[in-house]
């Protein structure tokens, strides 16, 4: 055990508390900065994910319309019912695309809503008080 009266690091014992305070403050600041950076990363990832989902919905909408219309056109060619198949294909395909987008957005909301509705902010506050130990 080192003698408390003779500090090894050369810091005046009276300044020691301040030095410790500064060190703790620096560490806390760094932690907050890290946390903020992580939050920003997470937000960006979430945004990218939502963007990807939105992009998929739109491409699904277009693809469903085009593919079902093409199938209708194929049926037209087979049975000589031009333009019934193509026209109904466009409408049915568009309806299917909207339905897929609706389902996708419902799933997305189900996966994102519960944490966003109040659980996350509470958890953040608790973390904040925890970091206030001096």
């Amino acid at each position: 055990m080192p003698d408390p009266e003779t500090p090894e690091d050369g810091i005046d014992p009276r300044n020691r508390l301040e030095a410790l305070d500064r060190a703790v403050k620096a560490a806390l600041d760094k932690r907050a900065a890290d946390q903020a950076a992580a939050d920003a990363r997470e937000a960006r990832a979430k945004q990218a994910q939502a963007g990807g989902a939105a992009w998929r919905m739109i491409s699904n909408l277009v693809l469903a319309t085009v593919l079902v219309a093409a199938a209708g056109y194929g049926l037209d060619r087979l049975f000589g019912t031009t333009p019934l198949g193509l026209v109904s294909g466009v409408f049915i395909g568009f309806a299917a695309g909207v339905w897929m987008a609706y389902q996708a957005s419902a799933r997305l909301q189900a996966s994102q809503d519960p944490p966003a509705a109040g659980l996350a902010p509470v958890a953040k506050e608790e973390e904040g008080t925890d970091g206030d130990l001096r």
Partner: protein, 254 residues
Amino acid sequence: MISADTDPMYQFKLERLLPFELGGFDLSFTNSSLWMGVAVALVAGLLWLGTREAQLVPGRFQSVVELFYGFVRNMVESIIGHEGLKFFPIVFTLFAFILACNMIGMWPYAFTVTSHVSVTLALGLLVFVIVLTVGLAKKGPLGFLAKFIPSGTPVAIAPFVFVLELISFLIRPGTLAVRLFANMLAGHSLMKVLASFVPLGLAAGGVGFLAALGSILGVAAVTALEFLVAFLQAYVFAILTCVYLSEVVGEGHH
């Protein structure tokens, strides 16, 4: 002015390397087949190198392989759940093959296998048949059809919902195929078109030099974007395969 050097679609041209015909079907070994083989060899080679002398502390290749394996395994497990791990081999194979094909396609003068709808549609149909088979085996024909009416649907609109669900199920191989092939086709032609502006601008001189400079910057940016797209499209294909499998494997959470 349009030649092999500037025609943006020339890079997608199929060439018969070993002509072969069987019963009226053209089964020639094409440049597409060749590059598919290269993709398979690349993936197999990487996996072989990484697992040849497995060590507790992994070397370079082993690290890559473990990362790759862990990435796909996490994806499968998080989407389908633990019992989905029996589908890990097919998801890993699809992801590795598509990723390898897309990345090889970024190499100058290489052929982009996934830019052809016949290839991507075959992959999409493979996924479709697997999902269909698993669904029918797990739930039986009636149980499988019942999946197309989400629980809690009012009786009055159930027939419409059934038709829409059925259609959105049936067009899946198409959406999988078109998404992948259209992305690769569009990106690669865009790169080529932008690149062909460079010699045109230089030949024009004057303000053309500026256009050439801008095109070079544009090509650089689009190339970077295309690397992202190459990965992302392989990832999306694998993710959607997992999602489709999870619908027939997991208990109905509609």
